[in-house]
């Protein structure tokens, strides 16, 4: 009895723990890969997942003879179903790395598979595309290179009409793109950009998500800023991508996530961001930010952080463009609701994904740095106090919060009037107790601005043992000059 229960419960308990451990391991591996500039991920499309769900590994290791036999059967079987079955068995075999190796070493195998992909039997063709998809998911670069002869056909079918086949081709291309530079080199001349620009008109959401995935993989490549981004910007893709990011009943989160990442890769490469701004990127992304905050308010927050992150990045980086002023970008983004939305998102990130908090504060910095209007909104919407509540967070968060406060304070006396009296000074005395030089340094900067524009604050500072707080940093090389000046100001005041 006990054994039975034990036997039944254990796999579940282990499963959860196992899942968590695996996720942690994967996260660590991804971090390492990112530092080595090797961050590569692929998507796997399999619709017979239930077979694997019960933990039975269905991937077969097929030998050379078997592969040959299945290919021959798929080509020349007497019945259509028989051909499909042969190819389906081969496909399951190709889930195994060893079968993949055997397959690519077998002479003529890829040629035959491409032949089946272009066959006039629709289901056989689909099965051949699935075989290629399995191969594209391989972690061995040689397997991706073996798929080189297939890319022109995959692109041809992207221009077709069968949404199932288009989706498969796009995910396969997206996987091959990150695995092999040789594949990327030939995709541009083979016309991937016009093919995608035509395909993005598709009404099928599955196709659009797959397209966004493939495009984001292309734009992520090391050579993208020189090779792909100019070509993408020269096509109709940017306008279409912005269309798919417009908030409204037609916005699909899965699709929007992919295209928001595409935009991020384009924008952070700084090839021609002025063009995106003239297409209205700032206003579209600003409206999307409002929409996201609205969804969070209605607590429809399933997976929203996935979309929040690239949208924050796109807006932040776009705001640094000189063209923002020139083409009326400031006009596109002057609505103070953007600040309100951003704070709702900050609160959401704090609960859901605190590691993304810095990205939100980065946008707040870029919004407030040169904008008296947004600084005024921050004050009139009573957002200083919530901002101060973020100070006990990580050092990066604290520095960013203090920087935003400096942005407000440096605008002059009218602004600092709203900062004192208030909770700012006690918070600053707390951050002066931090050990991080950058946090303390930024606190000193803010104190200087406050004393300059609001001399009345000096008295309060002295009363709250501010001098003692400063003394602590007298010896630190990077801080002592500023500490001395502030001490003198305080004593004079």
């Amino acid at each position: 009895m006990w054994n039975q229960r034990h036997g039944r419960l254990r796999p579940v308990g282990c499963g959860m723990e196992e899942l968590r451990r695996r996720r942690r391991e994967r996260e660590a591996a991804l971090r390492k890969a990112r530092r080595e500039q090797q961050l590569v991920s692929k998507r796997l499309l399999r619709d017979d997942a239930p077979e694997e769900a019960d933990g039975v590994c269905v991937a077969l290791i097929l030998g050379e003879d078997e592969i040959q036999q299945f290919l021959r059967l798929a080509q020349r079987g007497t019945e259509e179903k028989e051909k499909e079955r042969a190819l389906a068995t081969l496909r399951r075999g190709l889930q195994h790395p060893e079968t993949q190796q055997t397959f690519i070493r077998l002479e003529g195998s890829m040629r035959t598979l491409v032949g089946l992909l272009t066959s006039n039997q629709a289901l056989l063709q689909l099965e051949a595309a699935r075989c290629l998809h399995e191969l594209s998911h391989s972690e061995q670069p040689a397997v991706a290179e073996a798929c080189l002869p297939a890319t022109s056909y995959l692109l041809t079918y992207v221009s077709g009409h069968s949404s199932d086949l288009i989706e498969l081709c796009l995910y396969t291309l997206g996987n091959l793109i990150v695995e092999s530079e040789a594949v990327r080199r030939q995709l541009l001349p083979q016309g991937i950009v016009p093919a995608l620009a035509a395909c993005i008109q598709s009404p099928h959401l599955t196709v659009l998500e797959a397209l966004g995935y493939a495009l984001s993989q292309l734009l992520q490549a090391k050579e993208a800023p020189e090779k792909f981004i100019p070509s993408v910007l020269g096509s109709t893709l940017p306008q279409q991508m912005l269309r798919l990011l417009q908030p409204g009943p037609k916005l699909n989160p899965g699709v929007a996530v992919e295209f928001a990442w595409c935009l991020h890769y384009i924008i952070c490469s700084q090839v021609n961001n002025a063009l995106l701004i003239t297409h209205g990127a700032l206003s579209t992304l600003g409206l999307l930010l409002l929409d996201l905050a609205g969804a969070i308010q209605r607590s429809e927050d399933a997976g929203l952080e996935l979309l929040v992150c690239p949208v924050l990045r796109c807006l932040s980086n776009l705001l640094t463009e000189a063209a923002v002023e020139a083409v009326g970008g400031q006009m596109q983004l002057r609505d103070e609701r953007v600040v309100a939305a951003l704070f709702i998102l900050l609160q959401f990130l704090l609960q859901k994904q605190p590691s993304l908090l810095p990205e939100g504060l980065w946008l707040l910095n870029n919004l407030t740095a040169n904008s008296p209007s947004f600084c005024t909104s921050l004050l009139s919407l009573n957002l200083i106090e919530p901002l101060l509540q973020l100070l006990p967070g990580s050092n990066v968060v604290s520095v960013l919060v203090l920087t935003v406060l400096c942005n407000v304070a440096e605008k002059g006396p009218a602004y600092c009037q709203h900062l004192w009296p208030g909770p700012l000074l006690p918070s600053l005395l707390d951050t002066l107790a931090f050990s991080d030089t950058e946090v303390v340094g930024q606190s000193l900067e803010l104190l200087q601005l406050l004393f300059l524009y609001r001399p009345e604050a000096v008295q309060a500072f002295l009363q709250q043992s501010g001098l003692q707080a400063l003394e602590r940093h007298e010896e630190e090389a990077q801080l002592q000059d500023r500490v001395h000046v502030l001490q003198q100001t305080a004593l004079r005041g």
């Binding site: 021959r72 039997q121 620009a197 640094t320």
Partner: protein
């Protein structure tokens, strides 16, 4: 983090911004040893600031099987037959029919019933194979359009186009959807004739390239010794129909015909 309750109301209200307070800067602000200057910050793609967000993105990509509601079971429906004349394929899953229709009946040449993977390739085929003016015009100007969508180049001959496809677009030399029309006796639809042996592209693998146009059991098996499929008899599909406009069924569907 406690947000003021009025903030949520602000989000729902209309656009607008309050009148900015007057800006009045003192030159001694930010003077040495202080260094603060308000500025917008840009981060390039590899910056470590992006590490956490990038890792989350890649976890999402890899997790997609668990995140996206993927419908593994497509509902079965009572068996039905494709309604296109001459096609008797039977289906019990709607999506399979959709795929079949879009692949085989969507871009079909009305003259010779060939199916093409895209509208672009079909347009080029109709122009080159069935437009009577094409031959005359092509003697005077470049008429052979590039097969790659988005490329506007035209060529004098299909051979020139093939060279362009291989050199400029890195297409395979035996690209299956590049079948130039050969000059043949009038009245005979070109589709019915096997390509003359000398037009075999490099590697002699041409016969498997006709997949879209001839029946698939006819594909050459590269896994077999070469000589076997060089015999002409083997290369003429048994199901091929001569005569303009005749529907060319596929062998398997014919079988189904007999069964039903």
């Amino acid at each position: 983090m406690q947000l003021p309750p009025a903030l949520h109301a602000r989000l729902l209200a209309g656009p607008g911004a309050s009148e900015p307070l007057p800006v009045e800067r003192d030159p001694s602000a930010g003077a040495a040893p202080f260094r603060f200057a308000a500025r917008r910050v840009r981060f390039p793609r590899e910056h470590e600031f992006f590490e956490d967000g990038d890792v989350q993105r890649h976890l999402y990509l890899q997790d997609v099987l668990t995140q996206v509601a993927w419908a593994p079971e497509r509902p079965r429906v009572p068996e039905f037959t494709c309604q296109v004349a001459g096609c008797c394929q039977v289906f019990d899953v709607l999506e399979a029919y959709e795929h079949h229709y879009h692949t085989l009946h969507r871009n079909v040449c009305s003259f010779c019933k060939r199916a093409f993977p895209s509208g672009h390739l079909l347009d080029i085929h109709i122009l080159e194979w069935h437009d009577s003016l094409f031959q005359i015009l092509s003697e005077r100007q470049d008429m052979y359009q590039c097969l790659v969508e988005g490329c506007t180049e035209k060529f004098k001959t299909s051979k020139d186009r093939k060279d362009h496809l291989v050199r400029r677009h890195l297409y395979p030399a035996d690209f299956r959807f590049d079948k130039p029309k050969k000059s043949r006796g009038p009245g005979l639809p070109a589709a019915a004739l096997p390509e003359p042996a000398e037009t075999l592209p490099e590697g002699g693998q041409q016969s498997e390239g006709d997949d879209m146009e001839v029946c698939s059991e006819h594909m050459a098996t590269p896994l077999e010794p070469r000589g076997e499929r060089r015999t002409l008899g083997h290369r003429i599909p048994s199901t091929i129909c001569f005569g303009q406009g005749a529907a060319r069924g596929f062998k398997s569907t014919k079988k189904r015909n007999k069964q039903h």
